[in-house]
Amino acid sequence: MTDYKMHILVCGGTGCRASQSEKIVDAFKSELETRALDDEVKVIATGCFGFCEKGPIVKIIPDNTFYVQVGVVDVKDIVEEHVIKGRPLKRLLYHDPATKSQVTDTAHIDFYKKQVRIALRNCGFINPENIDEYIARDGYAALGKALSEMTPADATQLVKDSGLRGRGGGGFPTGLKWEITAKEKSDQKYVVCNADEGDPGAFMDRSILEGDPHSVIEAMAICGYCIGASKGLVYIRAEYPLAINRLKIALEQAREYGLLGDDILGSGFNFDIDIRYGAGAFVCGEETALIHSMEGHRGEPTFKPPFPSVSGYLGKPTNVNNVETFANVPVIFNKGVEWFSSIGSEKSKGTKVFALAGKVNNVGLIEVPMGITLREVIFDIGGGIRGGKKFKAVQTGGPSGGCLTEQHLDTPIDYDNLIAAGSMMGSGGMIVMDEDDCMVSIAKFYLEFTLEESCGKCTPCRIGNKRLHEILDKITKGKGTLEDIERLRVLGNVIKDTSLCGLGQTSPNPILSTLDNFYDEYLAHVNDKKCPAGQCKDLVRYEIDPDACTGCTLCFRNCPVGAISGEKKMPHYIDQTLCIKCGVCYEKCRFKAISIV
């Protein structure tokens, strides 16, 4: 990166690409070319910057200026003002809502202040399609160090000492897992990277693979060296075309550089990586199901033991870790155990990446030290709740997790605390909810997901969840009874205790945690036949207050079914027999004349 005077980094993550960031890259290139600046300024499409809310993001180094919500039309101005005249283009800088001032660099943006980036260290800094840029940031130094200076046992011990735990959700100590697999004797062992991110509302692993694929490749090779495997497999969702493409490019480059293949760095160690495609089955996040899927079968889990570390892919010892776990490994080798374990809480070391989404102001991908509180994440990094609404709950752990409430806001986030609070770390989805969200509906939403994704192998999960869903459906339609609520609790606990795999064992969590934390809301649905949040269609009605209605006709024009009638400048009226309760009129009304009753 030495030949250029300036670099323009454009976010090439999925969120920003959805807002046409690729066209921004092209526009920069052609603009620079016409001004004959393309020898001095380089344009790079990077991985995700994380601040998806304000995308597309453009960052200019060396001065670290951070532009938000950039459009193709802004490219010319940035080149003229910033690149040529050397002064930041004010209108595209981040506007701090608290101080009402403009901020030029990430160090002064609240969204970034409390973040510590380890797994995401290269996302948004390097061109993921260029191995040299990874190497320039200490890439493959860890592999070199392990191969030349350490025995496999020493390297495994280092991972063990770091306290790194599985970031896929379970939190099993990574070094211990490696050690167990290393101890097995076999002619062939496998390193598997689980990139089958199925949690709805989570995109951490995908962002790492899109933004920094080499860190995963390097870590897999180190793992291969530690456990004595010469073969690695990445099991990735076929729905992630960009991540797959970047991974393929990275594998090719690593092979060219002799960092994969035979006799890596002259050490005599052989290792190569293949890609296997998932096909959309949440249960395949479970190790044994994943392995069956890689073998070409239905992704159904099997009973453990035997654990994959003893008998996994094709019956051989297999070590399965998730993408984010792997992404942490090279840094631990480079910066040392002491550095890594100084970050985080006592039993959970390092950081965790979360996909922060829902009703917060700053949606995005964040990486925070373990032990940070939910309050800091939601209110400092997330910028608080949208539209000045009231915080109600935060859901972690996806369909396997639970909803936490205001009373948990000051709980430090780590594996053990989240479980104690009735949720779990999970893979890193973090969905914030406000007063308008009905917790019974949320529980039902997650259960619908589980129902669809249950593989059907064991009875408690297949039939039990179906029954739970029926009861929830009844409650949201105002037909539930007090006994139904009790039945949810009893049946939920039975499913937890008797299901075969992690999916079933955790599937009732969203219900059980909302029952614990929002029991009143269940009661309101059952006893009063009311939905306090106004979400359950069968329990609400939209009404126009004739005194407040100005007859602006906005609701009339927007109603998709023509249920609203009324003359201009006269109060309007909703025909309840036609109304489909879509809520459009309620959102459109500028005079607060429409209420949910």
Binding site: G13, T14, G15, A18, S19, C52, E53, K54, G55, G198, D199, P200, G201, A202, F203, R206, S207, A238, E239, R276, Y277, G278, A279, G280, A281, F282, S293, E295, G296, H297, R298, G299, A355, A357, G358, K359, V363, G364, Q395, G398, G429, I431, M433, D437, I442, F445, Y446, F449, E452, C455, N558, P560, V561, I580, C582, G583, V584, E587, K588
Partner: protein, 163 residues
């Protein structure tokens, strides 16, 4: 489902794909991915041929095809519409948007309109949560969609703006 007579092209495609994976049973999922990519969907006849080529039972192929949501046995519409039903999109109104698509197209999730123009599916998390709720038409992403935008999105497709 009605019997489909496989075209010459389909037959040779399936055979080629299977051969490229050395007709190995363990490569079934990779084979299905490639065949679907080339033919658009996996009708029963294709599955039977895959089974024959890989020397395994058609029941097993069918078992795998129906297990994974990515595989489809019905042809997709000219404009495949996917509504993100990830949690982030759900809490920002994804369901209302889905309802409106269902209402306007008069089809349910997983179905294709009679004229073959549109098919509707729900998917889980596109990874563009900053733009929630998100709708995909083909590869094009529409962000921050409200039920009132549905008509416009559909009319854009009909006008052939879709690439």
């Amino acid at each position: 489902m009605p019997k489909v007579k496989l075209s010459e092209y389909a037959t040779s495609t399936v055979k080629e794909v299977c051969a490229s994976f050395n007709n190995k049973e363990g490569e079934l999922i990779n084979v299905l991915h490639q065949v679907q990519q080339k033919l658009g969907y996996l009708p029963a006849e294709v599955q039977e041929l895959v089974a024959k080529e890989l020397n395994m039972s058609a029941a097993k192929v069918y078992g795998v095809v129906t297990f994974y949501s990515f595989f489809t046995m019905v042809p997709q519409g000219e404009n495949p519409i996917s509504i993100c039903m990830g949690t982030a999109c759900y809490v920002r109104g994804g369901e209302q948007v889905l309802d409106e698509f269902k209402r306007q197209l008069k089809i349910d999730v997983g179905e294709t309109t009679a004229d073959g123009k549109f098919s509707l599916s729900a998917l889980r998390c596109v990874g563009a949560c900053g733009l929630a709720p998100v709708v995909l038409v083909g590869e094009k992403v529409h962000g921050r969609v409200a039920p009132t935008d549905v008509r416009k999105i559909l009319s854009e497709c009909k006008d052939g703006c879709l690439t």
